[in-house]
């Protein structure tokens, strides 16, 4: 162990202290994970205010329920699980209420739109993602954007490994089918040099 590692407490150590109602320990956990959770939530709702609400609710819920966390998974997986469930509930509430998710795609700020590479194809893909069943969408988001293993995805989704993998495969196949009909994908070629290699296929 290096000197630096000795000084910085691990998530598990902070959790143990936070279980004894140490606000400083829990606020350190919040600082470590808040940004990642906002990004995760944005992938579900594509609206910063809504994503912030999800993160706020999730972290307060985590603090309230911390005594139930047994440490069988990492704290990160546990808090991701809470956030995914909170996002699901928010989306359900939004759907039954005033805002349709598909409308939110058009509510993106102009600067975010202009930042999109190959915006048209990407926009269509995002709409298709919004139509996926929630579990397929979750598996896709966690795999593609978070680069998580299927073991970690299964922990977060609280399901067997094979189910997590199947949800991801179904999501990808639905997107593929949708775009094979359109021809956009066939004409699309990567513009940038990226890490995009055949190695990804094995992942």
């Amino acid at each position: 162990m290096t000197q630096l590692e000795g000084k910085i407490p691990t998530d598990s150590q902070l959790v143990e202290r936070a279980k004894l109602r140490s606000l400083s320990a829990f606020s350190e956990l919040v600082q470590r994970h808040q940004r990642g959770l906002i990004r995760l939530s944005l992938r579900f709702v594509r609206d910063l205010s809504l994503a912030e609400d999800i993160v706020q609710d999730s972290l307060i819920k985590a603090f309230e329920k911390l005594h139930t966390f047994e440490g069988r998974s990492s704290f990160k997986s546990w808090i991701y699980q809470i956030t995914v469930n909170t996002a699901k509930n928010k989306l359900r509430a939004e759907r039954s209420g005033q805002v349709e998710l598909r409308d939110m795609d058009f509510a993106l700020p102009a600067e975010a739109e202009s930042a999109l590479i190959h915006g048209a194809v990407a926009g269509m893909l995002q709409k298709e993602i919004a139509l996926l069943p929630f579990r397929q969408r979750t598996a896709l988001i966690l795999r593609v954007y978070e680069d998580l293993s299927f073991n970690e995805i299964a922990e977060i989704m609280d399901c067997p490994y094979d189910t997590a993998k199947a949800n991801y495969r179904h999501a990808l196949l639905k997107l593929k089918t949708a775009f094979e009909h359109q021809g956009d994908l066939r004409n699309w070629t990567p513009q940038q040099s990226t890490e995009w290699t055949l190695a990804e296929a094995e992942g």
Binding site: S27, E52, Q56, Y145, L185
Partner: protein, 67 residues
């Protein structure tokens, strides 16, 4: 994984909604709101545990006092 699937993964990764820039002041405000939320939660003290019930069949306190 097919070539089309690789393309989809690549398009998604290069257009990640989660990669949008988050203004630092928004992050700070959120952090403050969460701290307020957990402070309020921690102030709600757990309910005081009830005194253990006397064993079944034992006389009431007042009766015991008589002997």
């Amino acid at each position: 994984m097919s070539y089309a699937e690789l393309k989809i993964r690549h398009i998604l990764k290069s257009n990640d909604p989660g990669a949008a820039e988050i203004p630092p002041e928004r992050e700070q405000n959120l952090f403050a709101k969460i701290l307020i939320g957990i402070s309020q939660t921690s102030m709600e003290l757990p309910a005081k545990p009830r005194a253990p019930r006397p064993p079944v069949g034992s006389p009431p306190k007042s009766a015991r006092a008589m002997f």
